[in-house]
């Protein structure tokens, strides 16, 4: 900000409240402006301390208690970031009486091998904690050796000692510090820089996922990764000939090798992270290390630039740290496997792969998720020969237009302007441009934390809806050039066309809507009394998706009839593969509709019988609760969601408990047969190449869920029977007090997307 404007701004500070000392305040403000100008024009200024107590006290005396000098742009954000100087809870520069500003430790002194080993392991532990999302100021920067290397007073080549007092003749212990420990520290710091670069070039959420703050320090900018590796190699050479105990030497070499492998992996595109995982052997020699706690200190935070105080830290043990490292390596290896060439040929398979990655236990950390995003999005293409454009086109082809010339890649190469293929291709390209961001988000956002996946998708719904308008317009334009197949209407009189782009957008819109509900169950967004309504809506969305798929399948069948049999086997293969896959999607939508129907009926029954009841809620109004809950879906213009009234009129509270239970059981039986079908589906048919294990596991979880629903239903039936209420209308009954219900929290469900209420008879 230009200096004069800052001074000008200072002179425009306003005063709130009464103003009896108007002139004095005006004077004080002008003086402040003058001082500001002077300070800024004195050429940057030098570091030093100046006691302003007298001036400050004199200025403060000019204000009455209750008078506030408030800049218009001093926001809540600024207020929360403000700190009170000398309050130890806020002022991290505060030095308690009797304490020293800086830690009292000579980083240049020589150390025995056991202590150097401990420092190296401690840094390894702290790096694992940093990976978990804790700031550098409380992890790696607390190492006094690292602090010295990164000190603003230090210069390349970043030695621990300053100036010319280089220790030309060093003892072994000094060399262990200045050659071995130094090389290790430099390699770890450069590795941090590489990790940060990966994370910051992709999507993540600051503070939620990771803290990228460097606190005013630079990460050895004049030293490259290759320089760091060279230093490690020199250190290894030194150790090989050094006068050090054999076991210690091996231990130290292991640490150096770890650091070397780590940084090499970060620099190289195609390297095996399994090699790093194999270094878990380091655990055994750790017990030989001798703690030297003075080599680390929180006092470094006093000199780091920050606007937040230190946060509460987790303490993880050495063993836990090693587990973290192993998990990071395993995740990276899996990320490579899941995005292999074969998987990337199918957008849907890739999609499944990303979801599978996101749902690994424990969830991959920010770096691993950024690594996956880098593989897919860092270059212009998903994989060799599959540009983003190709991915999207293949998606359209697989889902709605298999075998159709409209999305045949060759159509896009036709150059004759009058050729309908050329015209249509340009129109399709324009549409794809518009849909591009939101389509890629379907992949990218699954790499974020679970809460953010849901939050993004709730926003995507509205975007897909407006894309649908665009799609409808585009479909009409395309139909004008190359009329599509016309079939008799599915519901009423009149004819219908495929409207391929509209169908494509609709599919993802419905899928996203379903995901927001499923993720809502997973993240405990819905209260127990909301289960009924949310399952009902999930059922509605799934049924709509099924209907849409039927519409697409009809037109695929009609299109297949138009294929000239002698011509192109490719067309037939493409259409056949699409047909098989659509059948699988159809079954999946069916399953979701059935299971949600069953759970809707269960939840509703529990409510009608007064077993599950919301609290009194004085400030709640039914329609307004509905508005809060369904807000993301209310703006949908195309196929608006059913209203609250429509939901209420779908109630089954007239049906007897016995009939409802029978119906639920029938629904569950149908759901199970869907699962049986999916069990027999091959990876090619279901497009789950690369995620076979996850496919099987999920089916198992869903089977268990179905069984659980049946079990709880029979529980309820048994109790109702016992009280003689099996046959009457539930609306007139109550089992309140006879039954208690509990809702399993996420993490203890058979499948986290499905909440099965646990029903228990209350013992009298």
């Amino acid at each position: 900000m230009p200096e004069d404007d800052l001074a000008d701004e200072a002179s425009h500070l306003t005063i709130d409240g009464d103003n009896p000392n108007g002139d004095d305040i005006g004077f004080a403000a002008k003086r402040l402006a003058h001082e500001a100008r002077k300070t800024l024009s004195s050429g940057g200024g030098s570091r030093g301390i100046r006691d302003v107590t007298q001036e400050f006290a004199a200025a403060a005396k000019l204000l009455q208690p209750g008078q506030l000098v408030k800049d218009e742009y001093f926001t809540l954000f600024e207020a929360v970031g403000a700190l009170e100087i000398m309050d130890p809870k806020m002022d991290s520069g505060y030095v308690p009486p009797g304490d020293t500003l800086e830690p009292d430790f000579d980083v240049c002194k020589g150390l025995p091998a056991e202590q150097v080993l401990w420092i190296m392991d401690e840094l390894l532990r702290l790096t694992a904690v940093w990976h978990d999302g804790y700031p550098l100021s409380q992890t790696i920067f607390t190492s006094l050796h690292v602090d010295r290397l990164l000190s603003p007073d230090n210069r390349p080549p970043y030695h621990l000692f300053y100036g010319d007092t280089a220790l030309l003749v060093m003892t072994t212990e000094q060399r262990l510090v200045h050659i071995v420990l130094r090389a290790y520290c430099i390699a770890l710091v450069k590795s941090c820089a590489l990790v940060l670069h990966t994370i910051q070039s992709q999507n993540f959420y600051e503070e939620e996922d990771f803290v990228t703050h460097l606190f005013g320090r630079e990460l050895l900018p004049s030293t490259g990764a290759n320089d760091a590796v060279k230093l490690i190699d020199e250190a290894v050479k030194f150790l090989d000939g050094a006068d050090v105990d054999k076991v210690m030497r091996t231990a130290l070499l292991e640490r150096l090798q770890f650091a070397r492998t780590y940084i090499s992996l970060l620099v190289s595109d195609s390297a095996d992270w399994n090699t790093l995982a194999a270094m878990g052997r380091s655990a055994e020699t750790h017990k030989l290390a001798q703690p030297i706690l003075e080599a680390f200190s929180d006092k470094v935070q006093r000199q780091l630039a920050t606007s937040t105080p230190p946060r509460p830290m987790i303490i993880i043990s050495w063993d836990e740290a090693l587990e973290r490292w192993k998990a990071i390596c395993a995740d990276i290896v899996e990320a490579d496997r899941l995005t292999c060439f074969d998987v990337c040929q199918s957008p849907h398979a890739l999609h499944r792969a990303i979801w599978a990655f996101a749902y690994r236990e424990p969830q991959p950390n920010t770096f691993a998720r950024a690594y996956l995003q880098t593989i897919l999005f860092a270059s212009e293409q998903i994989t060799e020969g599959m540009a983003f454009f190709d991915l999207m086109l293949t998606d359209m082809r697989d889902l709605v237009l298999a075998g159709d010339v409209l999305v045949d890649p060759h159509s896009f190469l036709v150059e004759i302007p009058s050729d309908p293929r050329h015209k249509c291709s340009r129109i399709v390209e324009t549409f794809m441009d518009k849909a591009f961001d939101e389509y890629m988000n379907l992949y990218r956002m699954v790499c974020q934390n679970r809460c953010r996946i849901r939050r993004t998708f709730t926003q995507s719904v509205a975007i897909f809806d407006s894309l649908e308008t665009e799609a409808m317009r585009t479909d009409a334009e395309l139909d004008g050039i190359t009329p599509g197949i016309v079939l008799a209407g599915e519901d009423g009189p009149g004819n219908v066309t495929l409207t391929p782009l509209t169908s494509w957008v609709k599919y993802y819109k419905l899928q996203t809507m379903a995901w927001t509900i499923q993720l809502g169950f997973e993240t405990d967004i819905y209260l127990p009394h909301e289960l009924s309504m949310m399952y009902w809506y999930l059922m509605v969305f799934a049924r709509r998706e099924r209907k849409l798929l039927e519409h697409i399948e009809r037109f695929l069948a009609a299109r297949q009839k138009t294929f000239v049999s002698s011509r192109d086997a490719r067309q037939d293969d493409e259409a056949a593969a699409s047909q098989e896959w659509l059948a699988v999607l159809h079954k999946q939508a069916d399953f979701t509709a059935l299971l949600s129907s069953a759970l809707w009926q269960v939840s509703e029954l529990l409510m009608t019988l007064c077993i599950l009841q919301p609290a009194k809620r004085d400030y709640a109004q039914e329609q307004l609760l509905y508005d809060v809950r369904m807000k993301s879906y209310l703006g949908i213009a195309h196929d608006p969601i059913p209203t609250l009234e429509e939901y209420k009129s779908a109630t089954q509270s007239d049906r007897s408990i016995e009939d409802t239970c029978n119906n639920i059981n029938g629904t569950i039986a149908d759901a199970k047969s869907c699962l049986a079908y999916m069990k027999k589906t091959t990876p090619e048919q279901g497009k789950y190449i690369g995620t076979g294990e996850q496919w099987k596991r999920e089916i198992k979880q869903l089977e268990t869920t179905c069984v659980a629903v049946a079990v709880q239903t029979s529980q309820l039936r048994r109790v109702a029977d016992k009280h003689g209420k099996l046959l009457g209308a539930p609306r007139d009954q109550s089992l309140k007090g006879a039954v208690e219900v509990s809702i399993p929290p996420a993490g203890s469900r058979y499948h986290d997307w499905w909440v099965v209420p646990q029903i228990r008879e209350k013992k009298t």
Binding site: H12, Y73, F74, V80, E208, H213, C451, R617, Y619, D627
Partner: protein, 242 residues
């Protein structure tokens, strides 16, 4: 609010053993903070709220709310001993240029006096006042593990709208809770947040110098930044508003 769990003071006990529950007769008197900016209660309010938090807010945070919305702050006092038993701090302003949103920023009850409905009463007073001032909706955040707090609000009609991953400085996750007071709120137009939710062509979330990425706060900061930039380009801004 981000930073720390503002409802920490109605959480379970803090690190040290909590003082024993007060079991005697209690005469609780509820009053509004009112329009006196530097009320004599301010130090007690600060002390009560910061007591169980891992790091306190500066005086500016309290002034931000109490100077502008002193009538939305309510205190529970022990009438006999004139001690502060509980406090609620709120604000009320248009949310992104759209609905008038009440926001409950802080709620605290002294641990010895919990379980008596004081917190619920304070929330009711605040909600009633906001309704009186024509609020369209009321929002707040609270830790996912803060069951007493969740129960208070959900028993009044609040619903969970979002889960906020690692929202607080100590890494705990929060729920956003929302209560609509009037119909038609979802259809009231609002400005989008200045920093969109982070998706786009491979750009990471912009680092906010250590602060949490709370929508509310990000908007205000960006609005503030925009204002300053106008100033730089020579427009004289009269901050006294005359």
């Amino acid at each position: 609010m981000s930073g720390t769990s503002k409802n920490a003071a109605i959480d379970g006990p803090s690190e040290n053993a909590p003082p024993p529950k007060f079991n005697g007769e209690l005469n609780v008197h509820y009053i509004s903070y009112g329009s006196e900016k530097e009320s004599s209660y301010l130090p007690a309010i600060r002390q009560l709220i910061s007591k169980d938090l891992s790091e306190p807010y500066s005086i500016y945070v309290y002034r931000y709310f109490l100077y502008q919305w002193g009538d939305l702050c309510f205190m529970a006092l022990d009438e006999d001993r004139n001690a502060l038993l509980g406090v609620i701090v709120c604000k009320l302003e248009p949310h992104r240029g759209g609905p008038l949103r009440g926001y409950i920023a802080m709620l605290a009850t002294r641990s010895e006096y919990r379980g008596r409905g004081i917190a619920t009463k304070l929330v009711r007073l605040a909600v009633e006042k906001m309704i009186e001032k024509d609020a369209d909706e009321i929002a707040l955040e609270t830790e996912v593990t803060n069951t007493p707090s969740l129960r208070i609000y959900e028993n009044l009609g609040f619903l969970r709208t979002k889960r906020l991953h690692r929202y607080y400085l100590n890494g705990s996750t929060a729920f956003r809770l929302l209560l609509y007071l009037k119909p038609g709120i979802p259809f009231k137009p609002t400005f989008p947040p200045e920093f969109p939710a982070g998706y786009g062509e491979g750009h990471g979330q912009i680092s906010q110098d250590g602060q949490g990425s709370v929508d509310e706060q990000q908007v205000e900061r960006q609005v503030a930044r925009m204002g300053i930039e106008e100033d730089v380009y020579g427009e004289r801004f009269d901050v006294t508003g005359q």
